[in-house]
Symmetry: C2
Subunit: 403 residues, 2 copies
């Protein structure tokens, strides 16, 4: 028995040739995409003749447990905001609250067409449970830093919690554990290296924040005597199983050091927190660095809509570089789909036989018209909204469908 | 008989004290807001207990007839894009096509919570008819420039058409005519002055594009021997009945000259076309300049969602100025509501007795939660989408309502 998306008005496969097919069928059996075939008795058919069908979007960097902080303090200086609004609220967090808000965030993200999230926060067991209950595919890392936090009093405690989490979830079908160190300004060298070793031992991804602000560059120069990426390279933290969030403030020499490492770009959060620079995406892509897209938490976004994030990603590169040709739409959609599959080491983000069946459909509403094949990607990146998503399939299961 | 929005969960009045009322009623009689009163037989009641009710949004700068160009060419250099995609398509335009696409755009904008648009394009009679048929409040100007266009062979022809349009619509209840000159790079001094004189004669607003790009600054230095705003001031084009679109590239001295003049800010379009600078909003507001918000056309946006425009307006000021406290949410909402009322000289953008009944309601969906009074504006500016709008009232009439 198959699930067949019948007569997709446009089917954006995101395979190597980047075809956009017209009036095509997409066939799903179990949790995989299979070769198209004629419907048989028992198959489920969904008519997609008014839809653009594309790979489910991948949010490469978020903190869903922070959803309770949405809109809690705006228009503040970064350090006032952290000290007065974010840190005090987070100190009092408990595991059941992280579950509740991660579930809320997961449902919001899924409704907007996100089928995979990479989440990093306190109480990873609560986050993982929420994402499993929501039916979301996820990569989850428990926060490790040296400061006392809601879920661990010391860096050692946090590391132990993270190790326990990774061991528990390492064979889970849809929740993949990640080893996560918060940042160079909250972790000692020893802690950073210990988290990376944990990743290597268990063959999981290693993730951290890096080079988000000028302050952090200055901090790294003082602490490590070098720029952020240089310092992390020297500690052996980089490479193809490492995902760095932000990297707004990096030099050309640091780009060379990123060879093989992946970067999660968060343009809305970076703009809202006034980072002042942004990820040099064209130079990174030219250097072969894999770039994905994230929303960061709703405390600095303030929603979980990757369609909005794609649009802002394009606007920001064009504006910042004084170049309307910067970051073409295909590269933006790649960041939210197929690149993420490469980063995460799973057959995600491409709608071809053999790949995981994470699929969404966008309805062709007024603001997506007129349309023809040459405009499909333009509309997806610059006109569409998460709220246009009417069908969400994750791991072969229909999670959301509206008429 | 009244229309009563009953028990509004939050009522954002945008009056001088900027109150956000909880569990309040809003009473409408005819096309005006009136003092709240108990329902009587024959009144229409709409339950708003799950809604934020706020003034309808005002799009201060758009070209709805260009809706057919949505997504027609992206990621191109500005002058290639204009020469290869926009101008050739516009040369072939006919009046019935402008009607069709203006109607399409009006319905899109209205669905996203816009209740008034200021539209400037070819075939103003077609645009006005479309906006009237859509039930939208509008300010409409016919394009005047010296180049041959789809609706006029010469600047003189265009001026005559504009005069005829203004005379025809000057007493219309919901469509207000505007005298519109395209820009300093498409109009001679004589044409610019003639359009301003037309505005003065008929006591209507005068509108034009100004200081959008560095190219234009350079052009004005060569053509007029001075910066754009200085040149327009010398021609007598500025003052309280003038609305300038863009003004990204202006000096401190030019800000002084803008005293009383209004500016329409279009952040998405400016970013997408890589203007490289942006409107210095804090300095303008400090100088008492009234600033409104526009989407520009969908050819450079690519939709008509002012909620998205509000978000990008905030993000852009914060990012460009390296200041997360720049442009607080209240100022952003003002730009899309009450400031526009001041610019347009109508009792718009404020939900107080005596004002025109242009009202919208946003449903409290997942991405607008959690909420309390202190978060209402933050959510409207940074989390909400046009697609959250479930009720649109224009001139006292219910134009859109969904459950």
């Amino acid at each position: 028995m198959a699930l067949i998306l019948k007569n997709c008005r446009y089917l954006v496969t995101q395979n190597d040739t980047r075809d956009i097919l017209e009036h095509a069928d997409l066939c799903i059996e179990g949790n995989r995409i299979t070769e198209s075939r004629k419907p048989l008795t028992g198959d489920t058919i969904i008519d997609c003749s008014r839809h653009i069908v594309l790979p489910g979007l991948v949010n490469m960097h978020t903190h869903l447990g922070m959803t309770f902080l949405r809109g809690a303090g705006e228009d503040m200086e970064l350090h006032d905001w952290l000290a007065q609004k974010i840190f005090p609220a987070e100190q009092k967090l408990r595991d059941h609250e992280v579950y509740r808000w991660a579930l809320h965030g997961a449902r919001e993200a899924m409704g907007f067409g996100t089928t995979t999230v990479c989440d990093f926060y306190f109480f990873p067991f609560s986050t993982a449970k929420a994402l499993e209950d929501a039916g979301m595919r996820a990569f989850v890392g428990g926060d490790v830093q040296d400061n006392p936090t809601a879920h661990a009093q010391t860096g050692g405690d946090a590391l132990q919690l993270s190790a326990h989490f990774i061991e528990t979830y390492k064979d889970h079908p849809t929740i993949t554990p990640v080893a996560y160190a918060h940042s160079p300004y909250t972790c000692s060298e020893q802690t950073l290296v210990a988290v990376k070793n944990l990743a290597v031992t268990h063959q999981v991804l290693f993730a951290m924040h890096l080079a988000e602000t000028r302050y952090e560059v200055d901090f790294c120069k003082k602490k490590f005597g070098s720029f952020p990426v240089e310092a992390m390279a020297r500690l052996g933290l980089l490479g193809k199983d490492t995902v760095l969030a932000h990297c707004n403030w990096i030099t050309k020499d640091e780009i060379k050091l990123l060879d093989g490492t992946c970067v999660a770009h968060n343009p809305v959060s970076n703009m809202k927190l006034a980072s002042g620079s942004t990820l040099p995406i064209p130079e990174l892509l030219a250097a072969g660095v894999c770039v994905g897209l994230g929303t960061d938490s709703v405390a600095s976004n303030n929603n979980l809509d990757l369609f909005e994030e794609m649009k802002v990603a394009g606007l920001l590169q064009k504006f910042h570089r004084w170049d309307p040709a910067a970051l073409p739409v295909q590269q933006i959609l790649d960041m939210a789909t197929r690149n993420a599959g490469v980063v995460l080491g799973k057959p995600l983000g491409v709608l071809m036989p053999g790949h995981l069946a994470d699929v969404i459909a966008v309805e062709l509403r007024d603001h997506l018209l007129p349309i023809d094949t040459s405009r499909v990607l333009n509309h997806l990146v610059y006109s569409a909204k998460g709220s246009d998503v009417v069908l969400v399939i994750i791991d072969g299961k229909v999670c959301r469908m509206s008429s």
